[in-house]
Symmetry: none
Amino acid sequence: MIKTEREKNIIEAALKVFSRNGYADTRMADIAAEAGMSYGLVYHYYQNKEKLFEAIVEDWWAGFYRELESLKVGDATTEEKLRGIIHYLLSVYEKKPDQISIFVIEISRGFVDHADSRGKGKFGRLFDLCREIMEEGQKNGFLRNDIAARYLTYVFLGSIDTFLSVMILGGEKMNASREERISDGIAKVFFQGAVKPRE
Amino acid sequence: MIKTEREKNIIEAALKVFSRNGYADTRMADIAAEAGMSYGLVYHYYQNKEKLFEAIVEDWWAGFYRELESLKVGDATTEEKLRGIIHYLLSVYEKKPDQISIFVIEISRGFVDHADSRGKGKFGRLFDLCREIMEEGQKNGFLRNDIAARYLTYVFLGSIDTFLSVMILGGEKMNASREERISDGIAKVFFQGAVKPRE
Amino acid sequence: MIKTEREKNIIEAALKVFSRNGYADTRMADIAAEAGMSYGLVYHYYQNKEKLFEAIVEDWWAGFYRELESLKVGDATTEEKLRGIIHYLLSVYEKKPDQISIFVIEISRGFVDHADSRGKGKFGRLFDLCREIMEEGQKNGFLRNDIAARYLTYVFLGSIDTFLSVMILGGEKMNASREERISDGIAKVFFQGAVKPRE
Amino acid sequence: MIKTEREKNIIEAALKVFSRNGYADTRMADIAAEAGMSYGLVYHYYQNKEKLFEAIVEDWWAGFYRELESLKVGDATTEEKLRGIIHYLLSVYEKKPDQISIFVIEISRGFVDHADSRGKGKFGRLFDLCREIMEEGQKNGFLRNDIAARYLTYVFLGSIDTFLSVMILGGEKMNASREERISDGIAKVFFQGAVKPRE
DNA sequence: AATGAATGAGACTTCATTCAT
DNA sequence: TATGAATGAAGTCTCATTCAT
């Protein structure tokens, strides 16, 4: 899927506006204005608003899956893999907060709407991939197996998701050291629990 | 805030439709139809769509805060309090899934929009209440204090939120025994971590 | 046309609200609120908004005609009669500014609309009565007859009308001495002209 | 303020419909139909009904002020200047009766409403300009100064206004010779008074 | 490629009026 | 008499989308 310069412009602008206003409150004209072109031209490249949104979502998932898959098949330990996911998501937030914003606001929730038009299936695939890593971790004895792998997945992804949400909500800036601290916090709680270990 | 029968009708119908279609895709006419009345009557009771939505949100938070506050000030242990929150949210889901749906879809995300009109401040208060319980837990030595209380809060609420989201997404039915199992799963992971305890 | 207390309440309230907001921007509910009753009751006495408005207009014209007719048939001089009209209108403004406001805003202009529903014919009758006085004045040699009586009428009524409009616009309060001065100003210009008389 | 052809179309159509039905009873759809286009297009050019109306009013005043200012600063006598104003207004009526109609029906009265949105301030400026001419006339000894300049202004403008109103009401057609006669009638009464001069 | 004029479905909302109580 | 719940016609306005240029 090679993109022309124009297409990249549009996607970038759309990302910004969708993440700022949400899908419903975004007008094609806003996106065009943000991209510095007429809205007619946006239609030249993207059939309609829905398709444009999907293109963004597509981009997002494409990158995410690439990362996830490579993590999954790699020979890292389960802990490393899961830390890798946390790290990946937080680093995307650091570099492209709008993209995460779309993910959080429209995809991870909006998916309820419109059958699959806004990514329900894709979201399911994320869960699946993650769950497979969990199952692997249970099989190799690292993770507890008195709790279903999918439950572990929910807790895990939910934690990250809420962190991201809160940061987006608060308009918080991210930087490498902060990311380090947060990543570690999520990982620690997830792996060892919130209860203070007995000395 | 005493409500007439009609007002209850409307709120109930609105809850159903908003949770089914999301705020943006809900028409006042749909709500009126669901409530079996003309849309004019809806306007007789609620100034406009936004205000009607707010009334629902208000109801939700009112109930939630009541529960949370009573949990917070009670003399239960930190663990019991946190389990109480999990239990409360899952049980509301069991009894009134639409209400949780609104919470998850529109409030916990939509709050980004519209300044506070969709509950950003209220959401903040939830976080605060929860964080205070965490701080108490840290003070009394139950919870680890190498991780900020607000981070613990995020992981905790994020886990529950994702569970709820996934169940809503999947249209899953809840029942008491299932609720028990899920509650326990979330609590276990949160308290003891996902790592398999060494025997 | 005997009116009950209730009917007088309504007319008074309607007068106030119509004059404040204009016909189109007045809601039946506003009138009812102003009258301290439910709008259902307003309908009990007046068939609809149009009819209620007409009743007010009717009242207004009834009083005005009574005055005009009595002036016309009286044995006062033409000058006295015309001064009488000026005086009457200004004194009504002093006592019931809302009533004049209705006259000015809705009747003297709004009459263009709705065929006769808002008083076109009545307005014509005012012109006629006034013109007859002018004609009489021309006949008895007081008024110049190189100008059509109806033109004199327009100038005469137009002057008063504009005074009233400006006062209403400015929210100006009227009192006896002021009324005296204004009456005299209008009369002087109308009778002797604005040009400075040669000494 | 250069206007496209379309904008002129719209203004013209709006002028016609507003003057025919009044502001409140004019629907945007009517204007669009009159202009032979969809109502969407009207909104493409004018933000909303209020703004469209304002644009018309703006146009009207712009032309009027241009005339008035040039009259005021010219070196004509006071009498010529005032006759100039009468002539201007009547000639506009002759050429564009709708425009005068708007002025008379909605501006010169409707200004009471909506703060300034319908031209209260502009109307005040007209009074001021006219009053300045009156004051000049008083200073140079042409006009009587036992009557306030603003009172002279009211009588003067009121006379013209009523003529215009009556003609609009009667749907009267204007032509050059008639205009001549009316102009002269207004001027004569205003300058020399309605009283028959003693021979 | 590019523009933005043009269209019209559709949503929100108002408010006169009716009517059961 | 009196109330205000209930209805629905009608109007304003938005905005995705099409299309001539």
